[in-house]
């Protein structure tokens, strides 16, 4: 490449080389927290403030979730920097979350000087050892000259194939050491096959099953979003007329209002797609991995159906559900190949079955959620107001618990990459920092965090980050004064023994105001619409607390160990 010729080697310190590598990868924002072992890097960052923005979070866990939010809304790699020891161990939850939710992230940790490694030096932890099971790849650098090639590899691995987190640990002496720097991007590692070859005939075999199906059902996951295959996906379902349901991480890849969008599968998903999973004749999984929260009891999951699995990670094929036809590869490519093989048709009678079951859910659950007959506000009403006020264009960043399920069930999406939540790990405390990262990545999008009173207090200190960076995120706390989801289980499965789930909460409005964030609390239904409108109209960060019913439950629900068709409406 022409501009590569112009890059001559430069005599640089390892620390400055790290920055040059990040810039070469197109990174303009990093999230992090300084400390002893990473100080050489921070010192160099001081000189690059115009090119590389560093967002100082209030905790390293917050930095990881912010980087995740940044990555999830933009499909770019989120970058985190932290010091050794406690700085590094504070990354573990975010790494695990990114690993299980396939989020591209590169974490750079400082490490004690190489001559101290293994001596229990001050702030030495074996972060490479600790992070091994929760990273796609990790590596320790002890020599400055290895920085360019290892970081190039880190970005390539994080982003390619099924994305994931990478951790690079760099000793302090390697950051100080000078060497002749030259950066070459990585696009190949000989032992690594990011996208498996699509077996010849597999697409045709899939098309044949689909073309002969009477009751086909698609369940799509995040693979559609990560593969940027939204258009290809839509073309396929529209041509073949297939009812399509989504996993929690697949949400928003297809607009909610689409006629063929039949809702969410899984434990708190919609009634129709769960029930009809056990009645379809061909189940087409697209970029999803049959998580147990999706399948319920595997021995009674879609046993009547032929299964087609479109998947980029061959280790996922036949892991949980046996595939009759596996179509390996990036769904963007495989769906493109599938489209011309499909017969244009519709399955109106079959689609009607979904609509009929939706009516049941509407009467038994949704009406009570959206138009409750009780005085207490429901979580769903708040989400509905947000839909209205944002014209369903907001990116919804939810935390973990009842409010998360309600947000995913009731949020309406018009744009892709709009449902950012911790699906696989279920990390309370995810939403507030993730919303910050998302808003920083996409300043023109409305970003609304939906959080429970419990999870909010797990990373509440990130209000400080909002204050300092003036990031205009909207924060909605749905306060039921309980660890609601756990309380729901206690009620349903543990004889209402509410052990340690009741929360005595502080004055959240005052706390937000302490950070100069405009804040409001809503207790009565008649104030809700106006409050949400004020929040959305605000150009600044905004905190809205809504007191909701204390002991409301989320339904439908597939109890643990039950089959998807045993989904309960009450």
């Amino acid at each position: 490449m022409a501009n590569q010729k112009n890059i001559k080697t430069q005599r640089l310190s390892g620390a400055e080389a790290i920055i040059k590598c990040l810039l070469a990868e197109g990174v303009d924002t990093i999230f992090g927290y300084p400390g002893g072992a990473i100080m050489p890097l921070y010192d160099k960052l001081y000189g690059y403030q115009n090119e590389l923005k560093h967002v100082l979070t209030r905790h390293e866990q917050g930095a990881t979730h912010a980087a995740q939010g940044y990555a999830r809304i933009s499909n770019k790699v989120g970058v985190v920097t932290a010091t050794s020891g406690p700085g590094a161990t504070n990354l573990v939850t975010g790494l695990a979350d990114a690993q299980i939710d396939s989020t591209p992230m590169v974490c750079i940790t400082g490490q004690v000087a190489s001559h101290l490694l293994g001596t229990d030096a001050f702030q030495e932890t074996d972060i490479v050892g600790i992070s091994t099971p929760v990273t796609k790849w990790n590596h320790q650098i002890t020599k400055a000259e290895d920085i360019p090639s290892v970081l190039a590899k880190a970005f390539y691995i994080a982003k390619s194939g099924r994305p994931g987190p990478v951790l690079i640990d760099i000793t302090k002496d390697a950051q100080f050491e000078e060497f002749d720097f030259l950066y070459k991007k990585c696009n190949h590692i000989r032992s690594y096959v990011p996208v498996p070859e699509t077996k010849s005939g597999s697409v045709k075999a899939a098309a044949e099953l689909i073309n002969n199906a009477k009751k086909p059902l698609i369940v799509w996951g995040q693979g559609v979003i990560l593969g940027e295959a939204e258009a290809e996906f839509k073309a396929v379902i529209e041509k073949a007329g297939i009812p399509s349901a989504w996993t929690i991480l697949g949400a928003s890849a297809l607009e909610t209002s689409h006629n063929l969008n039949v809702g969410m599968v899984g434990m708190h998903g919609n009634y129709a797609p769960n029930k009809l999973t056990n009645e379809c004749d061909v189940l087409i999984a697209v970029g999803m991995r049959f998580d147990d929260r999706v399948t319920g009891d595997l021995s009674r999951y879609a046993k009547q159906a032929k299964v087609i699995h479109f998947e980029i990670d061959s280790a996922e094929v036949n892991k949980n559900v046996k595939a009759d036809v596996a179509v390996l590869g990036n769904v963007k490519d495989t769906l493109t190949q599938l489209l011309p093989e499909l017969r244009a048709t519709n399955h109106d009678a079959w689609l009607q079955e979904f609509k009929d079951l939706y009516q049941i859910e509407l009467e038994k659950v949704i009406n009570d959620d959206l138009k409750p007959k009780v005085a207490e506000i429901t979580m769903a009403e708040v989400i509905e107001q947000i839909n209205i006020q944002t014209n369903a264009k907001a990116a919804i960043v939810s935390d973990v618990g009842q409010h998360q399920m309600v947000a995913c069930r009731y949020a309406k999406f018009k744009e892709t990459k709009s449902n950012i939540t911790s699906g696989g790990l279920g990390t309370m405390g995810f939403a507030l920092p993730a919303a910050i990262g998302a808003k920083i990545a996409e300043p023109n999008r409305e970003v609304v965090a939906i959080i429970g009173d419990g999870g909010y207090q797990m990373t509440i200190q990130e209000l400080g980050t909002i204050f300092q960076t003036k990031t205009p995120v909207k924060i909605v706390v749905l306060n039921n004064e309980f660890l609601g989801m756990v309380r729901q289980w206690q009620q349903l499965f543990f004889d209402k023994r509410y052990a340690s789930t009741e929360m005595v909460n502080p004055n959240f409005v005052k706390i937000a105001e302490g950070y100069s964030i405009e804040a409001k609390k809503v207790v009565k239904r008649e104030d809700l619409a106006q409050a949400v409108e004020d929040m959305i109209k605000s150009k600044n960060a905004y905190f809205l607390e809504v007191m909701v019913g204390k002991e409301n439950n989320v339904f439908p629900m597939i109890p643990t160990g039950a089959s998807v068709s045993e989904i309960r409406l009450e």
Binding site: T132, P133, K136, N138, S191, S314, A315, V317
Partner: protein, 175 residues
């Protein structure tokens, strides 16, 4: 459900610190005991070969192989039943030298079992035996009656009857 049998797993890897951790964690998470493990150079320069022995169902084996192959620095992983490979295991027995006088038939046993006397001194002697699992087991049971002071067995090493076309694979990857 298929039944648990012994599989020999052969993993070709880039020789990388930490990868063994990554791979052993895959077995550990599923509570699969590693019966033996051997790491050595392979027929290809800079490529390490691990030979791991596990007792699992074929279904489990396939899932684990998928998760192993997915690791960035694993070039290829294979699994084989005992009939599909030529393998050897080896072991050392340390025994008291007095036994050579008290039970001179031990000398014959060593010969009959195709074992080898590695060293003899006035206190102890050491027998080395290589062979298939059952052969080692038989010798162990035989010698146990005389009293074994120390016993150790090395990880299984194996080559497959079929070709493991790693070189070809690598040239493809390099292309």
């Amino acid at each position: 459900m298929s039944k648990e049998i012994t599989y020999t797993v052969s993993i070709y890897t880039e020789n990388n610190i930490g990868l063994l951790n990554r791979v052993s964690a895959i077995f550990q998470r599923r509570h699969i005991n590693i019966e033996s493990i051997n790491s050595s150079i392979s027929e290809i320069e800079n490529v390490t070969k691990w030979t791991i022995l596990v007792i699992v169902t074929e279904e489990q084996m396939k899932k684990v192989i998928g998760q192993i192959e997915k690791q960035v620095e694993v070039i290829r992983a294979y699994y084989h039943t005992d009939d599909e490979i030529i393998y050897q295991e080896s072991c050392l027995f340390k025994m008291k030298s007095d036994l050579l006088f008290e039970a001179p038939q031990i000398q014959n046993l060593i010969k009959d079992h195709n074992a080898r006397l590695v060293t003899v001194n006035k206190d102890f002697f050491v027998i080395e035996k290589s062979g298939r699992t059952e052969e080692i087991e038989t010798l162990y049971q035989t010698l146990k009656t005389y009293g074994i002071s120390q016993f150790t067995r090395a990880g299984r090493i194996a080559v497959s009857k079929e070709r493991m076309e790693i070189s070809k694979l690598l040239s493809l990857f390099n292309a």
